[in-house]
Symmetry: C3
Subunit: 159 residues, 3 copies
């Protein structure tokens, strides 16, 4: 029971840190939430329901996630908007035999432009594979299922 | 203290599961979060503040909740939109002498149509009666107070 | 470990209560979440990024917070809208040597008018200084960084 409780709070810490680092534009630290064996994929809910393989973002390993952040930094010299993630309470949906957990969470993502106008950018859900480490938890495979139709672009910030 | 902590995390689990099952269209499993002695009522904040009795949805017992889901399934053969609940951190507002708890939580509910357009559908608050069971927690009387004016319809999905 | 867990849940309790009391228009109780040594400041993200000192609301001590609520009550005899805070999972970002904690949390704030129309009013982040007390936690210095441009007015409700 003790261990069970501790796990929940560590999952909450990881998920809230995920959103906080993105919103603070600390993308290089965000990447470090991912374990060496990880991936990051964004698909649309429509494609998920049709079982279509097309992804909006697909980074198959941690190096690809790092590369994507580096490209994003090079292209977007100045921030054109501020993101804001409101992430719902994470649900530990499954505890896998390997010791990893499947954690799901809803999100709403807003963007504010430099005039101070805020708009809804995307809603959807996260499916986080959470991997226990000797010192806290890290992310394994991360799937983002976006309800909202998004423009596919290399320039986009991670969700 | 140990028991107190465990209670909080079980409440969080129940509330996050509530939103997750609705968003995944797993409505039959959502009904099973309710105990045998339960109810589900949706009222507007305006009617609450005027102390008017009119409800938008009123299921006085679990059978009525089940019936409502069955009707909804019959009428809505295909999903015309995807819901997305972002539920704020639950607050255990009261621990009742009977052992039950009154838990309140804010929500924002978005809908995405088949074109991938997302709009805000409703905001409001939940008042959950949470009932300890031998194996986890279940819902007793659930009151949804919707800030947003809603069209009263038998076809509506639960909030 | 036991103490660590307990701290997290008390922080969650405090933050969820913060939003609940504001949304329920229980502003006088909201003030009592602040310790004797506290402050409440709202700034825009633009000013934060430019390191400009201008604040939208600046209450330098608890008496000023109390005064502001009293003024708000005098001017706004009737509620013209209902607020709704959806506060994301709090992140304990730092544990300070003094025993206090720095806790950050994203928010989305909606307003519903008397016609039942809901609109997004503001998104942003909280930076809460959380002070352990003999009986639970209280707020010290609270900084609200609003992404959304807001009209500066003495009549505004706290965020």
């Amino acid at each position: 029971m003790q261990i069970y409780q501790s796990e929940n709070l560590k999952v909450y810490d990881l998920v809230s840190r995920y959103g906080y680092l993105l919103d603070q534009d600390r993308l290089e630290e965000w990447v470090e939430l991912f374990s060496a064996e990880s991936s990051y994929k964004v698909i649309s809910r429509e494609n998920e329901s049709l079982e279509l393989p097309a992804a909006m973002i697909w980074c198959d390993n941690k190096h690809m996630i790092q590369d994507r952040i580096a490209s994003y930094r090079n292209v977007n010299e100045y921030n054109l908007h501020w993101p804001r993630h409101i992430i719902g309470l994470p649900l530990i949906e499954k505890r896998n035999a390997s010791g990893s957990m499947t954690v799901v969470s809803s999100y709403s993502l807003f963007q504010t432009d430099l005039e101070g106008q805020t708009r809804l950018f995307s809603t959807g859900r996260y499916e986080f594979e959470v991997l226990p480490q000797s010192n806290g938890f890290l992310l394994g495979h991360v799937l983002v299922v976006a309800d909202t139709g998004l423009i596919q672009t290399l320039l986009a910030a991670p969700i």
